[in-house]
Symmetry: C2
Subunit: 193 residues, 2 copies
DNA sequence: GCGTTTTCTTGACAAATGTCAATGCTTTTT
DNA sequence: AAAAAGCATTGACATTTGTCAAGAAAACGC
């Protein structure tokens, strides 16, 4: 079962070059885990101890407010990484939840494991820096859309940028991710036929 | 005029430790620049060649859409860094503008200068990584607010988190930053007296 | 200081989005 | 296969936010 790491190193090698030996070292730091649909990877008030690289399946990061309303902050499909970075960095309890939208397989990496790995394989530090940069740029783009576009435009933008999310994620979660209500999304879809 | 670098190294030393010698090396890579109020640091369709550390004054990063409407994506006060990171990284023309809200002083750092500096002073790499992480976490928090709160809540949140922005930035820019119209902000302020 | 420009406020009205409730359709569970 | 739970759609109506236009206040430039 070594193809578990195939996608991970494919992604890593798009940004930096790792030798076979280095790859073997890295492998030892990850924890492979299967999660069933609807199962939590992180629950509010827990500390986020791991970042999760998605090997197969999909997950969401979301908050639940006082009134019980959920707000999806991020989705993660195959090849993406998901975590509450704030809690992961600071060690403080998370105010987010992460759960699986389908049966899912992830590679977990703790903070200490990442630090050791970076010591042994310095090139991987660069990978994480670039990853962080990309994540920031992508989030900045999403923020631009959030403050400047209508519900209709936001949806069509997502459709154009990440069609796979639209296909695989329930509509009420997509509405939540975009910042409006499921009924609004339903009406947008009807209008755009 | 060496106090130009005081704030920069104060910020850096909050995260990593640099010797006097290392600090001297770093200084040589920055370009000190004064900008008058309303002057551009970056204009749409130019490549963003520098990140700018704000020594004094304030700036904004914003887009202008087809209809001429401005949308402010970021403010930067003293001690903050501002740039269109996407253009900076990729070398592609920017779709953003940066201009000064007051007479402002900045320390510019080009991509190549940053790369050389990191070679000579490796600790600074760690600083930039942590900076990136913090920026991401802050933006994620802002995104959560953007998708889950009303105009009123967004404003009060900003007021609680960054009161200095509210004090120093014109209201119509704050409204733009929060994703609604100046008239709406005006009404929120009246109601909350 | 004085005129000019920019910014802020207000009101009346329009448009977008939210709320609530009912219904039918899927998917999951047993 | 039946029952239950979750999800999407729709309509009527409420609320929030945007638009436009006018005037007042503040900041700026000379």
């Amino acid at each position: 079962m070594n193809e578990i790491f195939d996608l991970l190193f494919k992604k890593v090698n798009e940004k930096v070059s790792l030798s076979e030996a280095e790859q073997e070292i890295c492998k030892s730091f990850f924890i492979y885990k299967k999660i069933r649909k609807r199962q939590y990877l992180l629950q509010e008030s827990e500390v986020c101890k791991y970042t999760a690289f998605v090997v197969k399946g999909s997950l969401r990061l979301y908050t639940v407010n006082e009134k019980g309303a959920e707000h999806v902050l991020q989705f993660a499909l195959e090849g993406w990484i998901i975590a509450d970075l704030y809690s992961f960095i600071t060690g403080e309890p998370s105010s987010y939840n992460i759960d699986a939208l389908e049966d899912t397989e992830v590679l977990l990496l703790s903070k200490s494991a990442q630090e050791e790995m970076v010591q042994l394989v310095p090139a991987i530090q660069q990978y994480y820096y670039l990853l962080m940069q990309n994540a920031y740029v992508a989030l900045q783009r999403r923020m631009t859309i959030a403050i400047s576009q209508t519900a209709d435009e936001k949806y069509n933008n997502l459709l154009a940028t990440y069609p796979e999310i639209i296909q695989r994620v329930p509509q009420h979660m997509i509405a939540s991710y975009l910042g409006f209500k499921p009924e609004t999304l339903s009406r947008i879809r009807r209008k755009n036929l």
